[in-house]
C-alpha cells in the first residue's frame, strides 16, 4: 500500500499551469527521485502535498486519508514532513530551538533529548546553541533536515537537499536519507544531482512544464532521449 498517493492533481496560477494531471505513488520505505529543469513543477508538487497550495482538481492521500481540505499544519501533524530549497531556518532561534520546533505534537515529551540525539547523529552536537546564521550553508541544510526528522512521520519530502553541499555534509545527508527509508518512511527527493538520484533512488519521475513526462527506474530515465533533450538540452 502506498504511503502517499497523488491522483490527477491540477494547479493553475491565473493562466499558467504549474501542475497538470499529476499522479504518482510512493510506497513506505521507497526513495522516489523527482527530477526536471527549473520551473518544471517539482517544488510546486511538494507545496501541493504539504498544503501550501490547494489543488484546483485531484486529490492527495496519506494512506487512504484525503488531504486536500486539510491546512498545512494538520498535514504535518499527520506525518508529512518537508525541507525547503532555501532551508528556511528560524534566524532568531538557536540550532537546538529550530530542531525543537519539529515534533508533530509540540512541545512533545522528551523532545530536547531527541533533538540532541538527532543533532549528534548528523554531527552538529557542538552547534546546538549557535544561531543558524553562524553556520556554513551545508550545516544549515543539516539543521533543516534535523528539524524535519523530529516530525517522525511517514512521509519525508526533501527539496534539493544536496544543492550547495559537498564533502562530509553530502555523505551525512545521503546516509540519513538511506536510513530514514530503511526505517519505513516514504521519501521523495527533488534533486538536480544525478549521481545522488542514481545512488539512492529506486524509482524516479521526470517533470517538465508541470507535467510528468516519464517515470520508471533511474536507469530507464537516464537512458531516455526525451529526458536528455528536455533536461540536459541535447541528444544522448
Amino acid at each position: 500500500m502506498s504511503a502517499i498517493r497523488v491522483v490527477g492533481v491540477r494547479k493553475h496560477f491565473g493562466g499558467i499551469s504549474v501542475a497538470e494531471d499529476i499522479s504518482l505513488e510512493i510506497a513506505a520505505g521507497e526513495i522516489l527521485g523527482l527530477i526536471g529543469p527549473n520551473g518544471a513543477g517539482k517544488t510546486t508538487l511538494f507545496n501541493l502535498i504539504s498544503g501550501i497550495h490547494a489543488p484546483d482538481a485531484g486529490e492527495i492521500y496519506l494512506r487512504d486519508r484525503p488531504l486536500s481540505r486539510l491546512p498545512v499544519y494538520k498535514r504535518a501533524r499527520l506525518g508529512i514532513a518537508r525541507t525547503w530549497q532555501h532551508v528556511r531556518l528560524f534566524p532568531t532561534l538557536s540550532v537546538l530551538d529550530n530542531v525543537l520546533m519539529g515534533p508533530r505534537a509540540y512541545p512533545g515529551e522528551g523532545s530536547p533529548a531527541r533533538a540532541s540525539a538527532i543533532l549528534e547523529r548528523i554531527g552538529l552536537a557542538g552547534a546546538q546553541d549557535k544561531l543558524p546564521g553562524a553556520l556554513p550553508f551545508g550545516q544549515q541544510k543539516l539543521v533543516g533536515l534535523a528539524r524535519t526528522l523530529m516530525n517522525d512521520g511517514e512521509v519525508l519530502l526533501l527539496d534539493e537537499p544536496m544543492a550547495g553541499v559537498e564533502g562530509q555534509v553530502y555523505e551525512t545527508i545521503k546516509q540519513v536519507v538511506r536510513d530514514e527509508a530503511a526505517a519505513g518512511r516514504a521519501v521523495c527527493v527533488v534533486e538536480h544531482n544525478v549521481s545522488f538520484i542514481r545512488d539512492l533512488c529506486t524509482r524516479a519521475v521526470f517533470m517538465f512544464n508541470g507535467r510528468i513526462e516519464q517515470s520508471g527506474t533511474v536507469e530507464e530515465l537516464l537512458a531516455s532521449e526525451k529526458l536528455a533533450e528536455l533536461y540536459f538540452g541535447g541528444k544522448k
Partner: protein, 282 residues
C-alpha cells in the same frame, strides 16, 4: 505630592499598555495600531457597568478587560487569516470606527466625554492605594508577558514571527497563536483602560486617537521591541519626559507641538541609530 502620585500612576498604566503592546507587535510581529481603543472600550465598559448597572468596581474592571478581549478576537478572526498589512488596515478602521461610535453613544457621554465615573479607592489613601494596585498589576503583567514569550510557547511565537509558512509546515497552528497573543495583549490593554477610568473618573473619546497609538508604539520602539524590560523603560521615559517639559513653562501653543516633535524625533533617532531600542534583545 498628588502630582507625583498622578505621574507615577500614569507610568504604571503605561507600563501595562506598552508591555501588552510589545506582546502583540514586538514578540508576535502583529502590526496593529488599535491598542488604545481596547484600552478605551474596557474603560467605558467598566465605567458604564459600575455607573448604570451597579456592578461592583473590581468586577466591572474584570468585565471591561474581558470585553476588550472578546472584541479583539472579533477583529483578529477575519484580519489575522491574512498576514501583515491587512491587520494594520483593519486595526486602523477598528480604531477610528469605535472612536466615532463612542462619540455617538449617549450612555458613554458621547463627544463631550463620560464624567462621574466612580473611583476604585476613595479617602485620604486614595492615591497610595491606587499606586500600589497599579504597580502590583503592572509587575504581574510584565511577568505574564515574560512567561508567555519564553519557554516552549515563546519559542513557537518567535518561530511564527520569523517564518509563518515554515512554522505551519512543522505542524504548528499559526492562526491560533496569533489570536491568543492578540487577545491577551488587548485584554491587558483593557485592564489598564478600566483601571484608568476608575482613577481619572473621566473618559473622553479624544484621549484614544491615533496619536495615542503613536505614543504607545514610541514607548515600545524606544524601550526595545521584543524584550521584557524595554517597554518598562520606554513607558517610564516617555511618560516622565513630557512631564519634565511642562516645568519649562512654555506657552501651550509651543508645548503641544514640542511634545509631538520629541516623540517623532525619538522614533526616528532610534530607528536609524539604535533600532533595537534602549534595551537590546539578547
Amino acid at each position: 505630592m498628588e502630582y507625583i502620585y498622578s505621574v507615577l500612576i500614569l507610568i504604571g498604566i503605561n507600563i501595562i499598555m506598552a508591555s501588552s503592546f510589545n506582546l502583540i507587535i514586538g514578540y508576535g510581529g502583529l502590526i496593529s495600531i488599535a491598542h488604545p481603543i481596547f484600552f478605551a472600550l474596557a474603560g467605558y465598559c467598566s465605567a458604564i457597568l459600575s455607573m448604570h448597572y451597579g456592578v461592583p468596581i473590581p468586577m466591572a474592571i474584570v468585565a471591561g478587560a474581558l470585553f476588550s478581549t472578546a472584541l479583539s478576537v472579533m477583529l483578529s478572526l477575519p484580519s489575522l487569516r491574512v498576514s501583515g498589512d491587512y491587520l494594520l488596515i483593519a486595526s486602523i478602521g477598528f480604531q477610528l470606527g469605535f472612536v466615532e461610535v463612542i462619540k455617538n453613544v449617549e450612555m458613554a457621554g458621547a463627544a463631550s466625554g463620560l464624567t462621574g465615573i466612580p473611583a476604585l479607592f476613595s479617602g485620604p489613601l486614595r492615591s497610595p492605594a491606587f499606586l500600589a494596585t497599579i504597580y502590583v498589576l503592572a509587575v504581574l503583567v510584565v511577568w505574564l508577558v515574560h512567561r508567555i514569550t519564553h519557554g516552549d510557547y515563546g519559542r513557537a511565537i518567535q518561530a511564527m514571527r520569523d517564518d509563518e509558512e515554515c512554522f505551519a509546515s512543522l505542524g504548528r497552528n499559526a492562526m491560533a497563536i496569533k489570536i491568543v497573543i492578540f487577545a491577551v495583549g488587548s485584554g491587558l490593554a483593557g485592564l489598564a483602560g478600566a483601571l484608568y477610568a476608575h482613577y481619572s473618573e473621566f473618559l473622553s473619546p479624544e484621549q484614544f486617537g491615533i496619536l495615542q497609538s503613536g505614543l504607545i508604539l514610541t514607548m515600545v520602539v524606544v524601550g526595545g521591541m521584543g524584550t521584557t524590560a524595554g517597554p518598562v523603560v520606554g513607558a517610564l521615559l516617555l511618560t516622565a519626559l513630557p512631564q519634565a517639559i511642562t516645568f519649562l513653562n512654555l506657552p501651550a501653543a509651543v508645548m503641544a507641538p514640542l511634545q509631538g516633535m520629541i516623540y517623532t524625533g525619538l522614533v526616528l533617532v532610534f530607528l536609524f541609530v539604535r533600532p533595537s531600542g534602549l534595551v537590546a534583545r539578547k
